[in-house]
Amino acid sequence: MPPELESLVQALTEGEREQSLRIVADLVSGGMPSVDIITGGIEKAMAALDKKCTAEQFNLLEIMLAGRAVMAVIRRLFPDDAALPAVRGNVVVAVLEGDIHDIGKAILKIVLTGNRFHVIDCGKDVSVAAVISAAAQCGAAAVCVSGLISSVIPQVRALKPALARAGLAHVRVLAGGAALKQCTVAALNVDHVGQTAFDAVAYLESMTPAVVCHG
């Protein structure tokens, strides 16, 4: 890996936004294609963060600082919401009705974007119907719901049947967040329960390419 990219990976994982942007400016002016900066810099940084995200080393502050730096670089490389190159699939993220805690969703969104997934953010306190509609509209490969309170569990359980009724049985359903991660896959009637955002991305990456790129 070129030393400049190594420096970028380090700056991103340490959450150094300004330094990351300076390195990226140098890389771009040196002629490096944006897609190479994404795959060689941002994706490597996400992988390093994934490793760090072990039981005792993870903390939200460091992940948020790294996420802020990653998003700043992505916005610099692809301004005005231009699409990322070689997107792996569309993923709908949401916090379901009754829950307004969306920090978990914000982290997931950053981690998904940094790993080249296109994220459709439904927001917080949203109905199952709105999530299904978004999934249908974008041809989603997966729906990810984050929940901090246990009262959303019945809605999480309703997602897969609702997707099936809408002809979207192939769409994977993932759950995470402080309350939902205490549950089993069977109890939530989902395909995967992620203990962290990186765990959810690893599950999506483990899916066959045909499923990930559906739609």
Partner: protein, 345 residues
Amino acid sequence: MDSVARIRRTMAFQACDRPPVIAQVFAHAALACGRSVDAYVASGVVAAACQIEARARYGYDAVFAVLDLTLEAEAAGGEVQSRRGVYPAVARPPLAPDDDFRRLTIPDPRTAGRLPMALEMATCLRDACGDEALVVGLVQGPMTLAVQFLGIEKALFLAADDPDRFLQLLDYTAAVGKAFGLAQLAAGAHLVLVFEPAACPEVVPPGLFREMIGPRLKWLFGAFTKAGAIGNWLHIAGKTGAVLPHYVALGADIGNFDYCVDPEALLEALGDSRLCLDGNIKSLSFVTDSAADVEREARQLLNVFDRRGGFILSSGCEIPPESQEATIAAMVRTALAWKSGQSEV
């Protein structure tokens, strides 16, 4: 032996007739009594009646003078959104990152927002329970209030980008907690639980906890002790194994530990620390598991701590409002039937 004596002795690692058991029940008390969450959070008198009735039904050792977790933000000028059937939420935080945190007014617990309702609740509970049950007040810790007063992203970025101003914010939120906590003690609470989930090592690095949050928690606990609290209770949810050994140095007598902290590993990490522990049945177990499952988990915990003492059987965090009554009853029944020294191999 009344509940307050039982808890005092447990905090002091002295023998008791049985281990104390505390169900961290807030709005569940309303649902168990046929009332709504909306009614519970709207009246200190109603909430106190629900707490008293729920305790009479279950037989645990403490009642909580707690309505919900938006009181401080509302009192500080934030906008709180009522939501039918669930706890209210902070819709607009009271502060912005550019505010001068040194010039803010401390909300007066006697007049600001619904703080007086919480004080009324504490008085009702103490009048009804005396020392028969521990009356627990609650304030949110300085870090948790900082997160609530600014929004979590803004608060955490401020901590990283401008630590000096973030310390000013923590000084303010600690002062808000101190004023509210002291008022709760004066209104009848035996002690004040400091709820500080935003200080969890999963949220902030250990250095930030040690250098920024810890000194302010110590200051709070010192003030509560001076005001006559029978003990100090620090409640941080999540993976707190790395910070629990430091609680005693902060002035905490009771430390809550969540379901994700292994009890055996915690005992080893604590060594000969005299921190009384409170935990750690998974909160969701009260919703999804059977009474037999909860009873089994309770027995395991009582076994682990039987020899050490200094243990209050409880959940790892709040017992969700929609929990099954049978699971809560199973936890309480297990503690009530437990005789010290009966640990099972």
